[in-house]
């Protein structure tokens, strides 16, 4: 079980309808609708430049939409409930001269947490994350990864009900990406709503209950990851010893001979109308020489291609590859 499958509260943490934002002659976001249930891990998935950051900034009240409405925990103006929200922007930043515990406390103070409480919690958080040796260091003395962790802790120090991450995995190595995934799941287990943007499909696929796929400033799909994957019919993957024979008549007309590998021939086709059992009988009776048979469900990547189009999917892959490079 890789995703958080716990049932979440059915009330909405975020609700947005018809959000539009234009910067000069560029239409950055064009009518975005999003509903994020409380307690969910929600992903906004799209290539760079698709409108993810602008959407998040509108949801958080950093910028106002030109059109449309947004509500966070029922409030039209997110700043009114700033204490309930934590935000980690894509472009990370801290005051270089500040000590780590002060930086965390300052971020908490911006959300209404008293400084002394923030400083105490900051020290505890750093100890819990193996950074006790760096508590009294200045931010400028930290490695990039450590500074990112400090900022992440500052995002959480005031115990927000909603945490918004903009490209949280960007710039992290594999180990820290894994730690962040664990942290996100832990937050959701505690009832915190987590919304994050990403251009890396497997993060969304592993973590999210729901996603909004965004491309060109629009959201062609918003809903559960399962429902997105189910938009593409499951495929039967069949491996046979024989390439020809009477059994071939049992395969659907659109069955595709994908490849020959080792001693087996690989076939892919949709689940036939008569069902798998009937197919199986005919294959056995026709001496197909079954080596393996499985039903493969479409991945989120396939769903993304189906929903957002080839160009957006290619861009998404390029962005993800760019991260690795």
């Amino acid at each position: 079980m890789s995703r958080n499958d716990d049932h979440y509260n059915t009330s909405l943490a975020i609700e947005a309808h018809g959000l539009v934002k234009r910067f000069d002659d560029t239409l950055a976001v064009d009518g975005v609708d999003i509903s994020v249930p409380e307690g969910a891990i929600y992903g906004i998935l799209g290539p760079n430049g698709a409108g993810k950051t602008t959407t998040l900034r509108m949801l958080l009240g950093i910028i106002d939409p030109d059109k449309g409405v947004r509500r966070v925990f029922g409030h039209d103006r997110p700043h009114e409930i700033a204490k309930w929200i934590g935000y980690l922007p894509e472009e990370r930043g801290l005051y270089p001269a500040m000590k780590c515990d002060e930086a965390i406390a300052f971020m908490g103070a911006l959300r209404g947490l008293p400084l002394d409480v923030g400083r105490q919690r900051g020290r505890e958080l750093m100890e819990n994350h193996g950074l006790s040796h760096a508590i009294d260091r200045q931010i400028r003395q930290l490695s990039k990864g450590m500074a990112q962790t400090v900022q992440l802790l500052g995002t959480l120090v005031h115990h927000p009900r909603l945490v918004v991450f903009d490209e949280p995995f960007s710039g992290l190595d594999a180990i820290n990406q894994g730690k962040l995934e664990v942290m996100i799941r832990d937050l959701a287990k505690q009832g915190t709503t987590v919304i994050f943007s990403t251009h890396v499909i497997h993060h969304a696929e592993r973590l999210c209950n729901d996603v909004a796929i965004i491309a060109g400033g629009r959201v062609p799909y918003a809903g559960s990851v399962d429902a997105a994957r189910d938009r593409i019919p499951a495929q039967v993957r069949l491996e046979t010893r024989n390439e020809a024979g009477e059994w071939r008549a049992a395969l659907p007309a659109d069955a595709r001979h994908d490849r020959k590998e080792g001693g087996g021939h690989f076939w892919y086709f949709p689940i036939p109308d008569g069902g798998i059992e009937a197919l199986l009988k005919r294959l056995i009776n026709g001496d197909a020489g079954i080596l393996s048979l499985s039903i493969e469900r479409a991945g989120l990547h396939d769903a993304f291609v189906e929903i957002a189009g080839e160009a957006a999917a290619r861009a998404l892959d390029e962005d993800a590859a760019g991260d690795i490079l």
Binding site: D24, T26, K83, Y95, F106, R111, G216, G309, A311
Partner: protein, 403 residues
């Protein structure tokens, strides 16, 4: 629906930003330079003050009051007329003896600007005035007395010198110097602070911190926090410099001699200087902070802030020019124009004892400070997240999938 417990009030949010900025600046190297600044500023202000005093003297030079009997006064005036073209002489004004004023009274008459008074007779002249003034005019008075007595060949009479502590001319000159020095100090301080608040904001944008602030608190609070933090820093600086200056004056008063008093008196003048400084800074600081919100890089800041810098220079020259002619149309314009008003009024505080004008001017300036700061905060909120690498424009690469 609004849960006020779920957000910081504007003033508290501004305080969080101001507290951070205040501490950060106070413990930075830049603040040390800021504290050392008055050494340079002081030197510049003294030079400017001296030049201002000279300019004021040229514009309205002190005169020599001639208080002799009628015949000798006429002879002295005729001698002055003969020699004035050949050598530079102080301007003179004949004063009838029946005015019943002694030399001290004439020197204290604020309507006449006398630098010294000649009394006695041409053979036994007596010159009253401040020490430096009678020392400067002693030769000219002896020459004129000899010329008036008999012309060429007449021996120069011995002048009896009667020094006094002060004269209207000396006081005016000192007050003009104080006014010019105060304007210069005000100008340099506001320039320095506006530059500091600007670079602080640009650094914050470069450090990508601005988005964290923008997400947590209203941008108005960020603006107010930044501008008042710098004001607080400047007050610390003024307190330090004031203490040092006070200590120097207290310890070295004997060596320094009597310090000329501004027209409103030193305590009120210092208080007004601090208030006018706050007004001048808030006006120009809000302009600079707004400029900073629109500029993503230091280069852009330099380009955008140039008009504001020119405006400030213009204001400085306007106030300096107008201080030598109180009550003129130029001076009244400088007093009424919001950005130059603090400069012109601090000059007035040095030269004019009237208090009500300051009450009026401060109310007027407070109105404009409110307008400037509010407008600045509004523009700041609109612009600060639209510029720079974080801005949303120019990133779009793809169209949506065709339906």
């Amino acid at each position: 629906m609004t849960d006020t417990a779920s957000r910081l009030p504007l003033w508290r949010a501004a305080f969080v930003v101001a507290r951070r900025d205040f501490k950060a600046i106070l413990f930075s190297k830049a603040f040390l330079f800021f504290l050392l600044g008055p050494i340079f500023f002081g030197a510049i202000s003294i030079v400017a003050g001296t030049l201002g005093a000279k300019a004021a003297e040229n514009n309205n030079p002190p005169r020599l009051a001639v208080m002799l009997d009628e015949a000798e006064s006429a002879a002295f005036e005729a001698a002055h007329a003969r020699l004035d073209d050949a050598i530079g002489l102080p301007q003179i004004e004949l004063v009838a003896r029946d005015e019943a004023l002694d030399a001290q009274g004439l020197l204290a008459d604020t309507s006449r600007n006398f630098g010294a008074v000649l009394s006695g007779s041409l053979s036994e002249p007596k010159l009253s005035g401040t020490q430096d003034r009678i020392a400067r005019w002693e030769g000219e008075v002896a020459l004129l007395s000899a010329e008036a007595s008999g012309g060429t060949g007449t021996p120069l009479p011995s002048i009896a010198l009667e020094p006094v502590q002060s004269s209207v001319a000396k006081t005016r000159s000192a007050q003009t110097a104080t006014a010019t020095g105060a304007i210069t100090l005000l100008f340099l301080l506001t320039m320095l602070l506006a530059g500091m608040v600007l670079s602080n904001l640009v650094e914050e944008k470069a450090n990508k911190i601005i988005e964290i602030l923008a997400a947590a608190i209203p941008m108005d609070a960020v603006f107010y926090g930044k501008i008042f933090a710098m004001l607080g820093v400047s007050f610390v600086g003024i307190a330090v410099w004031g203490s040092i200056a006070g200590a120097i004056l207290a310890l070295g008063s004997a060596a320094i001699g009597p310090v000329p008093v501004p027209a409103v008196g030193w305590p009120l003048f210092i208080a007004l200087f601090v208030i006018y400084f706050a007004m001048a800074y808030l006006l120009i600081g809000s302009v600079f902070l707004t400029i900073g919100s629109m500029a993503p890089t230091v280069r852009d800041v330099q380009t955008l802030s140039m008009p504001a810098t020119f405006l400030q220079l213009g204001v400085f020259f306007l106030a300096t020019y107008s201080l030598s002619d109180p009550g003129s149309a130029t001076e009244l314009f400088a007093v009424g124009f919001p950005v130059s008003s603090p400069y012109a009024m601090v000059a007035r505080a040095a030269q004019d004892p009237a208090i009500w004008t300051h009450v009026l001017a401060l109310a007027w300036q407070a109105l404009w400070v409110a307008i400037f700061v509010k407008t600045g905060a509004t523009l700041f909120r609109r612009k600060v997240m639209k510029s720079g690498p974080s801005g949303g424009a120019g990133k779009k690469r793809f169209g949506a999938k065709p339906a």
